[in-house]
Subunit: 344 residues, 2 copies
DNA sequence: CTGAAAGCGCTTACAG
DNA sequence: CTGAAAGCGCTTACAG
């Protein structure tokens, strides 16, 4: 099938390419009714479809954005992408999805390729290790929005969770339920900034309640080391009675460990997870979760980016948009049976 | 930042655009060493980056493909996309992801937009309701691969699960464990073809074992109606003692119901799910699952598509590539306690 | 070994 | 109300 071009349409309809172009762009202001009709019919007859690549070259806009995540298989990422795609679809933008696997080299390559392909902007869950390119893009006023993490001193708009609050909500809830020996496990690799925020929130919540911080209760582990870390934690002289899982993957590791050791939740160990999981409501016991509004975060990021692309403003706002987590109390964080506390 | 173009490089390096182009395309056969050096330096100096849109216009290839799924939030879809993206990345292709939400109108719009953007091919989890476009694309030799479902009579290569086998594996396992009253719940909306295959497999397995088919045991429901359907099922005079959940979403609904009614698995009701879930190993009891090789399926689809794009062959192969599911036995399908069977 | 020229399929002032 | 012409930034025969 040799492609039908605008020139073909013009010839058959006995008008110039300009006029066909006007028609396509719905600039009918000065177009004769019959010209319009003729073009319309010819287009249908030839089954003509405009070549957007040609238009993009001229207009310097591809109505396409790039999204770089660590891994689309992470629930958070897929929710963010879904939201971005929804918002983009409303404005007839498309989204190219890239998995950087927390690998700065891969991230760099994707960024360069995406720019070469002239995407109108990017939303990145940054590895954080390509500060030079981030800066270069910022200087060139290239539209870009970060999600999930902020990066150092670069004033690029970032949409993130209030991570301190996330941990604080969990810890405070434990304390309110009579727990004092509370541990937290976070993930080294993924999400450096979120982890720091979560650990800070954890510490502050304890301080606010005049509970001294036990550094042994704070574990920062690769996902493959969580089982081991838990073992160490529970082998302490005074093991924690409650634990915060810093994200969904860690929660899963915790639950695997719990099952393998026949530990009862919450009797032996109370658990709260940050990030929702598909089984939180029907797991036995149902899981108390600090939920992250992933869809809202992705939506906001897309809105910011499209705004920046379309209005050419907003640049250098350096705004950090923080979303609030929500504590959903279920059974896994219930107060300790033999609590001496008599809170209600 | 006014973009640097090839013309700028050519001027500064004192060569023609042709030569710069040769350089970029690594056609060094006849290029003088110093010319090469000069171009290389100039490119670095100017921080020149080729505009791929311009190249695409000329070469009629965007090194971009489109993927249309129902919803990226479904585990299967995200695994398929991840695989596709991995394979494409190896060949420096990018992938545009679209969510059609099982909506033929949305699907049609995406297909048209993607073609207008000149993507080199598409991988579609088809709604099945746009046979006219599928046919049109097929006739135009537009590279396209279906995943998860085949569509009627169109000879477009399709990569799918052996759905009959999936259900058969589950049913046979139940039977081997002494179960005879076996129900199956499938999803109306999603995956029409897979559902039919699974129900067929279910029936055949029963027939092979000379167990008569009870139509009341076959439920075909929207996801929101699963709870209700389960209730009906278990209220039958002779309720099923074992159940196959036709996909991950249904399995989740089953587990919710089970929890709300304090039904014990497998004692009161044995369960097998088709499609893996994140909690299969540590759910109590651990879940027996018929796993679908989603990543492999996506990989195959991408390989087929890239092959078709690059070699311009394979068209009209009408091949249906079926992948085999795998039964992973855990605790939720254990033999009935009071079984009169004495199979080992 | 390198350059001039045409062309990919559009859009957009500008002229009439 | 419509058309001729230039141009977006590349690639590619072709000539020399």
């Amino acid at each position: 099938m040799k492609a039908v071009t605008m020139a073909d349409v013009a010839r058959l309809a006995n008008v110039s390419k300009s006029t066909v172009s006007q028609y396509l762009n719905k600039r009918f202001d000065y177009m004769g009714e019959d010209t319009k009709k003729r073009i319309e019919e010819t287009i249908r007859e030839l089954d003509y479809r405009p070549n957007i690549v040609a238009r993009s070259l001229k207009q310097k806009s591809t109505t396409t954005i790039g999204v770089i995540v660590a891994n689309i298989l992470h629930t958070f990422s897929s929710q963010v992408i879904r939201a971005i795609e929804d918002i983009c679809h409303e404005s007839d933008f498309h989204v190219i999805v890239c998995n950087a696997d927390d690998n700065p080299v891969k991230e760099r390559k994707y960024i360069e390729m995406l720019r070469a392909k002239q995407v109108d902007g990017m939303i990145i869950l940054p590895t954080g290790d390509n500060v030079d390119i981030y800066n270069e893009m910022f200087d060139e006023k290239y539209p870009i929005v970060f999600v999930d993490r902020t990066v150092g001193e670069i004033p690029i708009p970032s949409v993130i969770l209030n991570n301190e609050m996330a941990a604080d909500l969990g810890v405070q809830h434990f304390i309110d339920n009579g727990y004092k020996k509370i541990g937290i496990i976070t993930n080294v690799i993924r999400n450096i900034t979120p982890r720091r925020g979560r650990v800070n929130g954890y510490k502050k919540a304890l301080e606010n309640n005049k509970i001294s911080i036990n550094e042994q209760y704070i574990k920062n582990l690769e996902i493959g080391k969580v089982q081991e870390g838990l073992k160490d934690l529970l082998a302490l002289e005074e093991p924690p009675e409650a634990i915060i899982a810093g994200n969904d993957l860690i929660l899963i590791e915790v639950l695997k460990y719990v099952k393998s050791k026949n530990i009862r939740i919450p009797t032996d160990l109370a658990v709260i997870g940050i990030d929702d999981v598909s089984f939180s409501t029907f797991y036995e016991p149902a899981l108390t979760i600090v939920e992250q509004p992933a869809y809202e975060i992705g939506k906001k990021a897309a809105e910011l980016l499209l705004y920046e692309i379309q209005k050419k403003e907003l640049h250098g706002e350096n705004a950090i948009y923080q979303f609030e987590p929500k504590l959903v109390v279920r059974e896994s964080s219930k107060r300790i049976g033999n609590s001496v506390h008599t809170i209600e």
